[in-house]
Structures are given as C-alpha cells and as structure tokens.
Symmetry: C2
Subunit: 473 residues, 2 copies
Amino acid sequence: MITRKLGATDIFTGDEIKKIHETTMDIMEENGIEIQSDKARKVFQKNGAIIKEKQVFIPREMVAEQIKLVPEKFTIHARNQQNNIVVGGQNTVLAPGYGAPFVMDYNNKRRRSNYEDYINFTKLSGHSKNIDIVGGVLVEPNDIEDKVRHAKMFEAAVKYADKCLMGSALGEKKARECIEMASIVFGGMDYIKEHPVLVTLINTNSPLQIDARMSEALMVYAEYKQPVVVASLSMTGTTAPATLAAALVQQNVEILAGIVLSQLINPGTPVIYGSASSVVDLKTGNLAIGTPETAKMFNGTAQIARFYNIPSRGGGSLTDSLFPDAQSGYQSMLNFMAAVRSGFNFILHAAGLLENYMTMSYEKFIIDDEICSLVTNFFQGLTVDEDHIAKDVILKVGSGGNFIAEEHTYNHMADLKEPIISTNQRYMSNNEQPDTASRANNYYQEVLKDYEPPELNEKIEKELKKYIQSLEK
Amino acid sequence: MITRKLGATDIFTGDEIKKIHETTMDIMEENGIEIQSDKARKVFQKNGAIIKEKQVFIPREMVAEQIKLVPEKFTIHARNQQNNIVVGGQNTVLAPGYGAPFVMDYNNKRRRSNYEDYINFTKLSGHSKNIDIVGGVLVEPNDIEDKVRHAKMFEAAVKYADKCLMGSALGEKKARECIEMASIVFGGMDYIKEHPVLVTLINTNSPLQIDARMSEALMVYAEYKQPVVVASLSMTGTTAPATLAAALVQQNVEILAGIVLSQLINPGTPVIYGSASSVVDLKTGNLAIGTPETAKMFNGTAQIARFYNIPSRGGGSLTDSLFPDAQSGYQSMLNFMAAVRSGFNFILHAAGLLENYMTMSYEKFIIDDEICSLVTNFFQGLTVDEDHIAKDVILKVGSGGNFIAEEHTYNHMADLKEPIISTNQRYMSNNEQPDTASRANNYYQEVLKDYEPPELNEKIEKELKKYIQSLEK
C-alpha cells in the first residue's frame, strides 16, 4: 500500500470538470445506457428511471442522490487482519496484473497460462511486501474447466496467501459461489455482510452498455455489501470518441450507471470508480497503452472520481512491449507513476503485465514489485526536523570535510538497494553485467523455491475443498 | 522545450521551507563558504562580507539583497533565432548528457569518447526536436589537446547545429575565449552584452567550497551578463550529510554563495539555481542515482529555487544501469518525470547517459529523445472544449456503436507513434521483436547518415577557424 504525502494531480479546472459532469448527465438522460439484464432494468425502473426496451435513461437527480451514498473510504478485511487495507483518501492499494491469457518467462516463449502459473503468481504476490490483493483472474488458468475455474482460483488465493481477495464477476451464479466460499473462510454470512472481504471487477461494455453477466454479478456483490470496482475499458477511435475529454465523458456515463445500480440494490455498498480506458493506434488497431495519452486518461479519471468523492481505480505498470526491455521500463514507470500521482486509490495491474493486458511475465513481476517499493518511497516525501536538517553536523564537518565517519551518517545509513532494479554495481567486468530481466529471472525462481505459504486453518481448507467438489458435479 | 500545463510538485510546507532557508542563512554566517579565488574573495569583501583566510562569511541581509536582483525569466538567443529559448516560468528547456568521459553503442564495448563522438552527438542533438541546447562538454573529446578542447567543442556545436549554446567554465582564460568565440558568431561584444547567448555550468565543491577555476569563470560570464548555472553535486554520507533535508541545506549555501557572487559582479546577470546532488550507496561508495531519493532531491531543489524566484536546474534521464535495459528505462523515466514535475526550468542530462554520469550511449540518446517527446505531451494536459468533449458524436454513435467511421475520429486521428519506445507492433513472429536498444541502434545510424547541418555563414566559419588556430600556438 502506498500512502501519498505528495498531492494528487489536478488536470482540469473547476469549470472544466463541471462541463464534463453536465455533459455526462445530458447523455445519461438523452441517450441513457443499455442495460442488458432484465433484473437490473427492473431495479432502475422501480426507482424512477425511464426504460425503453433495453435502454435505461437515468435522471441527473437520481444519479446525484445515489452517488452521495457511496462511502468515501472503506476497509477490506483479509483473513490475516494484519493485511487489511483501507481504500480511499491518500492510500493507493496494489493488485497484481489481472486477466492475462498468456504467460512468459525469460527462457520460454509466450504460452497459454495454466493453474500452475496461477499458483506461482499467487506465491509471488504473497511474498511481495507491496502487493495487497490476490485472487480473481490473477492470470487465466486455461487448463481448469470453466464451471470451477473461479472456485479453484479462489482456493489457490486463500491457500497460498493471506491477503485481501478478489472474486469472480462472471454472472450471478459464480458471484454467489464466490460469496459462499468467502463465508467459509471468514466464518459465516453474518460476518461478511458487516465486513467487506471480497472485491470484484465489473466491466462495462463501451460504448454505453453493461451486459447481463456483469450487471447481475454486481447485484450479488451489492446484495452482500461487498466492494465492486465499476470500470470502463473504452478505446479511443473505436469504442470511444477519438478525443480524450469525450472518452472520459462517455466512460463517466457507464461507470456512474453501474455505481447507481449498486446503491439502488444496497445503499452504502462500497464501490470504486474504475477505468482501464486507453488509446488505439488507428494504423494497427492495437491498444497503445504505453502512451502519455493513457497517463493523461489516468489523471482525468482520478480527478473526476474525486469530484464525486468516490475512491478510484486505474493504471498499473503497463506497457506495449513484448519483453521486459527498455521500452517496458520507460512505459511502465510512466504509467505507474502517473497512476499513483493521479490519486488512484486502487491500482490493478501493478506488477507483471507485458503486451498491454495480454501476457504475465515472471521477470516483469519481480521488476515491477521493486518499482512499487521505489514509488512508495518517493511518495513519502522528505522529513524536515532538527535531526534531518542536521545543522550541527554541517557546521562540524565544515568546508572541505567529509561526512563518512560522522555518527549522524551512521545513524541514517540505510540499505538503499533492492536486488533487481536498484543495483549500481558492476557485476563482473565491463559489459558483462547480466541485464535486468536475467537478474529477475534468477530471483523469482529463488523466491518460488523458498516460499512458505501462510498457515490455513485445516477445517476451513477441508470445507472449501468439499464446496468446490460439490460444484464439479 | 517542455511547457507544463500541470503544476509543479511542492514537497515542503511553508514552515519547512522557511526552516531550510533560516538554517542556510545561519550556516552562511557561522561557517561561511571557502572561496578559493583571491579575486572572488575581494569582491565579497568589498561588498561587506567578512573574510577570514579563504573563508567568506556572508550576512543574510547581503544574500537577500543580491538574490532579489536575479531575473525570474530570461531568453537565451541561438544563432538561428527560431531556436531561442525562454528559461523560467512553466518552461523546461532540455540539454543532452554532459561531461561523460566514456561512450558506448550497442555493438561496441564502452570506450573513451573522442571528438568524432562529440560531433555525432551534436548532430543527434541538432536533429532532435526536443533538445534545445548543444555545446559545452556534451561528451568529453579525449583526443583533443586540453588547451583547445573548449574551442574545438564550441566550433563543432556551432558548425553542426544552430541551437542555443553552452560554453566552458574551466577557469578565466577559457571562459574568456569562449565569450570571444561567441562574439564572432553573434556579431560582436556589444550584441552579447545585451543578449544571453552562452550558458555555462559552474560547479561548487561540496562541502561548502568553490574552487578558483570555477569562481573565476563565473566572474567572466557575469562580466558579460551571460547566464550561469550554479550547481552543487553533493553526495549524501560523503560530501553531504546523510539526510536529504540537510544535504539540501548545505547545497543551498553553496549555490546561493555563487549566485551572490554573480550579482555582485553584474547585477541582473541571469542565473540558474542548479543541483546534481544525489545519494551514495555506502556499501560500495557508488552514486545511487536511480533511486527515489534522487527524485525527491529534485523536488526539494526546485521548490527551494522557486522560494527565491530563481529559475532552477536539475534532473535528467539518469540511471545507474550500464546498458539501455529495463533498469535503465525505469530509472530514467522516474528521474526525468520527477525532474519535469519538480518544476525545473533547465534539465541537463536529458538524453544519452548511462552509469550515472559516466557513459554516453548512442542508443540511450535516441530512446531518451523519444521519452522527451512523450513527457512533453504528458505535461500539456487535456483540452476540454465543445469539439473535444464531442457530445453530439457520443449521442450519434449511441449504445453499442463504433466510432471508427466517424468524421470526428478522422479529424482527430493522430500519429501516436515514434519509432523506438512507442511501438505496439509485433515486428515479426512471437518473441522475435528486436529489443528497444537494437531498434535504437539502427535508428541513430540512419539519423547520422542523413543529417544535414544547418547553414553557417562562411565568414563566421573562417573567422572561428582562425581564432582557434591562434589558440593552438
């Protein structure tokens, strides 16, 4: 978790953000949003929205009323209470890469990811001192059959780590099953209804749609007052207008519609205003995620969420590169720094992704994790007190002296180094230093070899196994 | 040149910065600063400073009075007036790597740099649309004899580019010779005295010294009202205290002492408050420049300069890595973004450096240059007007539509790509994409092959040659 001492980026003036808000409300009333779930549309209708076929027109007053109910800040509880996190305010919590169907490491070609990879990345996340959240589609376990995939992922997340958890959003049934599994881990439904323990990612379909599967999963999580990230992944020039301000307006309609639904179901349900929107290179049709346009979208998204006093999600260590090379380094740092600086409270994709959202890399995970440490340090700012300003020491050493033997130096000596990114050592002779990716490759293998999962209550483990077996039938 | 729409980072509260200021003034009066030039000490003495041997004690009133004379903003004139730059305000001007004694490219080992490298990097800087300044010790031409090295560098800077110029600070004689060469290029001393045309870099010796060579070069530049960057490169734990706030205080004494000297010589001389200070890894004694501590020093330095209303210099695309690999990418982006965001008006080392300040890399230059473009774009922020907010287009496309065929998309289509960092294309089949450094290697060779230097008046070229020949005798 990063706690920012430094301020967040405001990219818009007060007038600009009002204009974005008013245009959003106009579109909410004039075009509305297509909600593909009958159940969800009924909820909107019952509360005064106008429905024409699948289109839901939401009056601005209704939006204003509902988003006021969203908590500014909330705690997600982990099975190890020391790993609880607070979402909101100056905090930025970190989750690893999410949803990639491929995996690669330094020595292997890109291949389809499997359950072993899922477990490995859960262990690396468990080992990380930066990553706060595991579970969900950390990486796609392609070798697990669909009907139990969400459950097997949940099981691994609980077994190999004791951090906060994400759960499935793939329709009502799976959402409900995830909640039931969480109730096994956390000691019953009553506890869950009072404590956020499972956060899920609800994606809209741009432009201006939310599908049935997502709407209904959202409704389940809201029923149990579990946190939902409502996020848009719109792409300029294809599923969003080509200009960034317009893309922000359009995603604002989508995200707010989802948030309104959550509050209609259960007022005060914790939600996070989310975005993974980016620009498209129209020459190729590819996402161009390593661009400053993406970083500017982060700034805009986070400020709009602040305007509504809703915690926000976006960003990550994102790159278009296929390898953990220089391009990957520059782009990931640009996006990650911009994301934290934007004021996002929740960063998905904080470690491991290459090739926009397509591939999880073991080396990149290790590198990004270290970047999380550096950026955490950066946002802590500087301490200015007697001891740190050290007037006496400066006067004592004086002109032309040396500080190396001073007690003040000894007292403040710190190990600046983490092993991968932060090295300033010549490993061997000139030009023979192993490159960053190869150092990371050695490192992650050691971590996996040495990792000891946190203890899990035997009874819980058995019950969970039994529950999952019942789904397999 | 980057023009920031986004605000600068304030890392200190008002009280904190006052504390830093007052402690600086205490040290200025109690320890003073060792000025190793007799001439410079006399100037201080004549104006009311107290001198004891080489130590100069500067009363806080004198500091306050002199720094008020420094211009907040000034223009540096290039021989091509279209390349003039304004230093100050929301502007950040960019100069390439500076002072490296080594050079490397992708195919060669690190080796001592020579005059051919100097010319090559001048051409690459001339070609760049981001770099504003050439000349000075862009890279050390080790094969040129010392007594004309400054002159040959000046000649190459004028011959292969028409951008703003840096000049030598290696003592009074060479400083004067640089001014004389500038007067040949710019049409006489009278023009020069009215127009800043040559900026130089004056380094203090930490802790709390300025050597004779630097003091006297500074005095020559001030005599002709040419801009000087007064900069400290102190290293925590060795030549500065271990804590960052104290290191900032100590460098503040050094930098302000140099700035006071410049104003005593010639009130209103344009100066830039500079720093290349960083932290040391006390395990190895190496600079650890790719650390967040360095980036935080940038924040602090720039804010202190703003407190005095003096333009500031710091930062760059700095890394500890020996190669343009992932480490290099992450660290350079961290430092460069932090530097611009800090509000620095002048960034030396914006392109090319590896291994802290030791090695210029052809590939890194190309990569960093592209990063300059991306970061320039980022700091321009977003446009929010009718056209960019595009309400009609959003309403027209509606739920489930596609924006690709819209005229609005066509009108705003832009080529997002520059060739090296920004690619999102699979070059060949999976895993066969050439890495960033290898793409940059191909690219810089093409640039050098195709580069056509800007025209230079024949008479000026001849006169310059004659002048340099006279120095060789």
